[in-house]
């Protein structure tokens, strides 16, 4: 459809306009707001360290004051009369917030007894906020509780941000077919609190509530209250940071494994559907085709691997089911907890775990990866193409969740998957240039872009650590995590000259 004369004139008028001061003012203002709350959040680990008389509490207090001061300054200096946010500002705010939080959230790692370089600290913070779960820290079992709690809190904050972003922001920015998830709540105006705020608040209640219930269940299952809290933060957010170098394998408890598997699964389902269930649609979750595909695929992978391990004589049936269920859910939900080195199970398991790390969970959840709905749409297109070959004169449409999908959404999905795979390849190539072997580079790129956590291989596998990577590789992986978390497009769009011109 051609735009009308007025529309065309308006586009011409804004075509040559460079970004105005206000474009950035509002961005700094929002960053400032987030930093103030990040700074205030640092007082929580400070209080925990102070309670056990660990000197790190001073580091947290100083960092908290500094971050709150910078945030407050940005907020106050840019306070002004801003009306509606434009799409460009939306992109800028989304990206800059996801960069600013790890940038400042890394400070306690630098100045605490860990003595990390800023590169490693930024990687740890970025891995936390993007809920990746890759770590450069060793000797977790002996670390003060403040640092352990801060890592977990970063993942929890990131997880919350991802849910709100996935439900409210990405559908508006039409990133990778996400326009399919634009919900009516944003189209209806209300006098008092706009519905987007209400939705964010409802999702927060749910997220906080589920985290607390998860913590309680882990406490019941045998963790200490502190371990339970830290793991609950990193489970619902599908982050995967643990309080032990042995990750969940340290606890060696089937009950803990199953409790965590259940909550990782909850974290990887669309949170908006939980609200539907609470609104009196008990079958709302299972009616969603994305959830059905996801659960079916999980069942198939877990069933096949369990049978393979059991019939191969590696484990008894109950152990095979326990280890497979936990590790498959951990990787597919992009959490990254580990109970054992699954790469030692054999080449089939290496291949399976490598491929499922790209799949990811459902959209509108805390998990990363390509996401199930994109596979559904690609499968739909494949089906439609086959139908067209068989019946050239027939009409075949691509459907998702019972609705016909327009061409642009299908295009967005294919572009996303293409860019995703190209991004993994380019990142892997760049990592090999830093001296990493091919398996480490490819799995490192995959795990970073999918926000999983562990890769494959001795160095960065489930039993490894990212500490020994060269600095350049650490920065590249940090960028990969950001790219994957923001669904590529929200980052790549900034490299387009058209974005800055229009």
């Amino acid at each position: 459809m051609h735009a009308g004369y007025g529309e065309a004139a308006r586009r011409l008028e804004i075509a040559g306009r460079m970004p105005e001061k206000n474009d950035f003012g509002i961005v700094f203002l929002v960053i400032g707001l987030f930093l103030v709350f990040l700074g205030l959040g640092m007082f929580i680990p400070a209080a925990v360290d102070a309670a056990i008389d660990n000197p790190d509490w001073q580091v947290f207090v100083v960092c908290a004051c500094f971050v709150t001061f910078i945030g407050g300054l940005l907020f106050l200096l840019n306070r002004g009369d801003y009306s509606e946010i434009s799409i460009r500002q939306g992109f800028l705010i989304t990206l800059s917030t996801w960069v600013a939080i790890p940038l400042f959230g890394a400070l306690p790692f630098v100045y605490s007894d860990l003595d990390l370089s800023y590169t490693d600290a930024f990687f740890e913070a970025m891995s936390g906020v993007t809920t990746t779960g890759s770590t450069v820290i060793t000797g977790l079992d002996g670390l003060p509780p403040g640092i352990l709690l801060w890592r977990s809190l970063l993942q929890w904050i990131g997880g919350g941000g991802i849910i709100v972003m996935g439900v409210a922001i990405l559908p508006m920015l039409k990133v990778g077919g996400m326009q399919l998830f634009k919900i009516a709540a944003f189209d209806v105006s209300e006098n008092f609190i706009p519905r987007s705020v209400k939705l964010a608040l409802s999702l927060s209640f749910l997220y906080i509530g589920l985290t607390m219930i998860c913590a309680l269940m882990l406490w019941l299952a045998g963790m200490t209250a502190f371990e339970a809290a830290c793991h609950a933060f990193t489970t619902l957010s599908t982050g995967g940071y643990s309080t032990s170098d042995g990750s969940i394998g340290h606890f060696d408890s089937a009950v803990i494994d199953y409790v965590l598997s259940f909550f990782m699964l909850l974290g990887s389902l669309p949170f908006i559907l939980y609200l539907k269930v609470l609104k009196g649609q008990p079958m709302g979750l299972l009616r969603d085709s994305q959830v059905r595909w996801y659960l079916l695929m999980l069942g198939v992978v877990i069933g096949a691997l369990t049978l393979w391990l059991w019939t191969g004589g590696r484990f008894e049936f109950d152990d095979a089911l326990r280890y497979t269920t936990f590790n498959v859910i951990s990787v597919i939900t992009t959490t990254g907890f580990a109970t054992m080195d699954y790469t030692s199970w054999g080449m089939l398991s290496v291949a399976v775990f490598f491929f499922i790390m790209f799949i990811g969970g459902c959209t509108g959840s805390t998990s990363g990866g390509i996401k199930i709905f994109r596979f559904q749409i690609m499968f739909g297109v494949l089906k439609s193409q086959i139908k067209r070959l068989l019946w050239p004169n027939g009409v075949s449409v691509v459907r998702y969740n019972g609705r016909t999908i327009n061409h642009s959404a299908v295009e967005s999905v294919f572009i996303f998957v293409f860019l995703y795979l190209a991004g993994v390849m380019l990142l892997a190539l760049a990592l090999t240039l830093t001296g990493l072997d091919f398996v480490t580079a490819l799995s490192g790129a995959g795990t970073a872009m999918s926000n999983v956590g562990p890769g494959v291989g001795i160095l960065i596998g489930p039993a490894g650590n990212f500490r020994d990577l060269p600095d350049m590789a650490t920065w590249l992986l940090s960028f990969g995590m950001l790219l994957g978390r923001l669904e590529l497009f929200a980052v790549l769009v900034l490299f387009s000259p058209q974005f800055w011109r229009s």
Binding site: I87, K174, L220
Partner: protein, 104 residues
């Protein structure tokens, strides 16, 4: 097929404002505090009620004196289980009430 069809995207309204972002962040932080307080109050209330009931049963002779000393772990376990159920119901009630009249 274009990699970025920015012209159509940039021309659309985003649908929310700075005021909403500020409100959302403020309310989310408030929600964290209020849900934590609710959890603490619920757990504390249930623990104290259970403790009071146990004292009453001890006083009335239904339970032997010193029951709590011997069964402290079991008591805590039962309270935790009860808390999980009540807290879950509370969260459901809060969200359902909050979303009343709202069509998703």
């Amino acid at each position: 097929m274009k990699l970025f069809d920015l012209s159509t995207i940039l021309d659309e309204d985003l649908g929310f404002s700075l005021r909403e972002i500020e409100k959302a962040i403020f309310f989310i932080v408030l929600a964290v505090f209020s849900v934590t307080l609710l959890a603490m109050a619920t757990f504390g209330g249930e623990y104290l009620s259970g403790y009071g009931l146990e004292r009453l049963l001890e006083f009335s002779g239904v339970l032997k004196k010193g029951w709590m000393v011997r069964h402290g772990d079991l008591f805590l376990h039962e309270i935790q289980t009860l808390f999980i159920v009540t807290f879950f119901v509370e969260i459901i009630l809060i969200i359902s009430r909050y979303m009343r009249g709202w069509k998703l």
